[in-house]
């Protein structure tokens, strides 16, 4: 038996917190690569796919979802302690997700709108990123994540190299695709200049402005883009709404609006 065969296969675990399941579904959506992947690593814990559960420690834990309950705030610490590398996947895990809209309102009021007996519901006042609770080795952005990027991240961590995931804006992806700028040429408001790349610039290729589902890029100039939107006759409340969606709690988006409010 060669040394390579003797080597223990890497153990992958997938954990879910508050989320829509779409990012872990991206792993099952890797239809062709999934079987190959399961032959080269041990999928030790992935409840959505199998009830077989191997106990930690894990070499790589993928975390989907945000922290919204006291129980989950505890659980993520336990997961961290039994994982060598911990990677968060998707807008919920990296910024708190759409459910972080509660951070700007009153969660008790929210609960009483949805539930007749809100006292049965155990929930925190905020929805926060995993990185606000434990150390995170890598954050993969997107609502949802891109499955090609997910495979790159898994391969990189298994091979102990750093993942090749660019942090520039969606604009670069449009240029690469050869998509004509929807904002400059078409007057369509677009969040591309401040949004993290990774989706492949899908929206502009469908004649739609980017709506920011990958969150802020490495150095977003939000104020400048807002000025450009105003010049396209977008009212300030429309701009505020578009930053308050899937990555509302990402600091660059959150602070841009707080700043605006301070000025008014």
């Amino acid at each position: 038996m060669s040394a390579r065969q003797k080597q223990r296969r890497a153990r992958l675990a997938v954990f879910k917190f508050a989320s829509c399941d779409g990012c872990q579904l991206s792993l099952l959506d890797c239809e062709n690569e999934l079987l190959t992947l399961s032959e080269s690593i041990d999928i030790a814990y992935f409840l959505e796919a199998t009830r077989k559960a191997i106990r930690g420690p894990y070499d790589l834990a993928l975390i989907e979802g945000s922290i919204t309950t006291p129980h989950d705030a505890e659980r993520i610490r336990r997961v961290r302690s039994e994982s060598r590398f911990l990677v968060t996947i998707g807008a919920c895990a990296t910024s708190g997700g759409i459910q972080a809209l509660r951070n700007f309102g009153n969660v008790r009021e929210f609960a009483s709108i949805v539930y007749a007996r809100p006292e049965y519901i155990a929930t925190l006042a905020t929805s926060t990123a995993i990185g606000d609770h434990v150390a995170v080795d890598f954050e993969l952005r997107g609502c949802p994540i891109n499955k090609r990027q997910l495979l790159e991240v898994i391969s990189a961590f298994i091979a102990r190299r750093s993942p090749t995931i660019p942090a520039h804006s969606v604009c670069v992806e449009c240029k690469r695709r050869g998509t004509v700028c929807v904002m400059v040429a078409g007057g369509t408001p677009c969040l591309g200049p401040i949004t993290h790349a990774g989706c492949g610039a899908i929206c502009p290729s469908f004649a739609r402005g980017c709506y920011g589902c990958y969150g802020p890029d490495e150095a977003p100039n939000v104020a400048s883009l807002m000025t450009a939107w105003t010049q396209l006759n977008r009212p300030p409340d429309a701009i505020a709404r578009v930053l308050r969606t899937f990555n509302a709690n990402a600091p660059a988006f959150r602070n841009a609006l707080t700043h605006e409010n301070d000025q008014s």
Binding site: G22, E48, P144
Partner: protein, 427 residues
């Protein structure tokens, strides 16, 4: 007292647990507990613009985002009395076909089939049934391709908007998918034959089946909701017909028909109420597999899912073949204060949306009732009914049977946790 407890339900979308308590040989109580954390969609939709509802509600569920987009559009367009041209309706049905195929294939091959064959999951099943699983993945990827072609990406498609689409896909791009769709449909026909060889426990219940009734084809979107027990309503009568109840042990609300109680929605209901509308290929496959209405055994829902997958392929090919890519991509909505009601058939059952908006188009009230909350009470009834059989089994086998019973209804727990205004509040 004996208790069967499953702490984490595996192979379902989202997080849930179940507990069955016996006193002697009698079932004392059954609790299907959903502890997926609540995300309060109905609350934060208030104050948002009506045009934002399709993209925001898509995030309720990564497995059936198209269903959320379609029900949201249907509700807003109902309120605004917006009439949608046929070529847009067709494209909506096409992307919905993709979602049925993708979601049904995931459930049949990766979640449900392992129950019948005694595996922990699909990856374990791959060791002995690799070709079957590969066929399933091929079917699933054909569905995803369809969603990608119309919607831009498979999870949370970006091309759907109020009134239609941002842009229409070129006819040549869709036409190029047909060979692959046809061969995936043939894999589904073979899979149906394979699945008929599964061992189905004798388990018939007198469910009330509720589903949309199609007007001239098997239903994806529509306004008329019927049942096998006399229900026949249109979308805006939904609230007076159904009620939702909150139970202390779960973050999901349970639905019931006010007049009669529990019911089921989903593939069995659609099939039993719309068999006559199936395309010839799907109907013929159903007859060959000896699946004909009324099918009252929820274990056999895997066969019905496969028949619906074949139906979705047939409809998709038919739509693509007469699609020419002409016409406007969307119709502009004239926003005004209104209340709208929307229904569509998500892969796992009827999805209801209701919105009230003001003159500026901002949402003042939102209600979303996903299929899993509607089926939750019937899942508990199924468990109660089958529980005596569990007493003869060891704990592991009893647990597996209980999970299997829940999985028969393809619960999507991520969906089921985000709910609605309660009826008791309204009264």
């Amino acid at each position: 007292m004996k208790t069967i407890k499953v702490e984490y339900l595996a192979r379902v979308e989202g997080e849930g647990a179940l507990r069955i308590r016996f006193r002697g040989n009698a079932v004392r109580d059954v609790e299907l507990r959903i502890f997926e954390p609540p995300r309060f969609f109905e609350a934060f939709l208030r104050g948002r613009h009506c045009a934002e509802a399709p993209d925001m509600t898509a995030r309720i569920c990564g497995i059936c985002p198209v269903a959320y987009q379609m029900s949201a559009c249907a509700a807003m367009e109902d309120g605004l009395a917006l009439s949608i041209p046929n070529h847009i309706r067709d494209l909506r049905r096409l992307i919905y076909c993709g979602e049925w195929i993708e979601s049904h294939a995931l459930h049949m091959f990766m979640l449900h089939a392992p129950d019948f064959l005694g595996f922990d999951g699909a990856l374990e099943m791959a060791r002995t049934h690799r070709d079957r699983l590969k066929a399933g993945l091929l079917i699933k990827s054909a569905g995803n391709e369809l969603i990608r072609a119309v919607g831009g990406r498979e999870v949370h498609p970006i091309n759907v908007r109020l009134g239609g689409f941002y842009s229409l896909p070129p006819a040549s791009e869709l036409l190029a998918l047909v060979p692959n769709l046809a061969s995936a449909r043939d894999r589904a026909l073979e899979a149906l034959e394979w699945m008929t060889s599964f061992d189905f426990p004798g388990f018939e219940r007198d469910y009330e089946f509720v589903a949309l009734r199609g007007s001239n084809s098997y239903p994806f979107m529509g306004r008329r909701l019927i049942s096998n027990k006399g229900l026949d309503i249109v979308a805006n009568q939904y609230d007076e017909t159904f009620e939702e109840r909150q139970v202390p042990y779960s973050n999901a609300l349970q639905s019931a028909i006010r007049a009669r109680g529990h019911y089921v929605c989903g593939p069995l209901s659609r099939f039993n109420l719309n068999f006559d509308l199936l395309s010839p290929t799907a109907a013929e496959a159903a007859r060959r597999a000896r699946v004909v209405p009324p099918c009252r055994n929820s274990f056999r829902s895997i066969l019905v899912r496969c028949i619906e997958t074949i139906e979705a392929f047939e409809q998709a090919i038919e739509i693509i073949e007469r699609y020419d890519g002409a016409g406007p991509a969307y119709v502009e909505a004239d926003v005004r204060a209104s209340t709208g009601y929307g229904l569509s058939e998500a892969p796992r059952g009827t999805l209801y949306h209701r919105y009230r908006i003001d003159d500026a188009g901002l949402i003042t009230d939102a209600t979303i009732i996903p299929p899993t909350s509607q089926n939750q009470a019937s899942m508990e009834d199924d468990l109660r009914e089958i529980a005596p059989r569990m007493l003869a089994l060891d704990h592991r086998a009893a647990t597996r049977l209980a999970e299997h019973v829940v999985r028969n209804h393809d619960p999507c727990i991520s969906c089921a946790t985000h709910f609605l205004n309660l009826t008791m509040e309204r009264e």
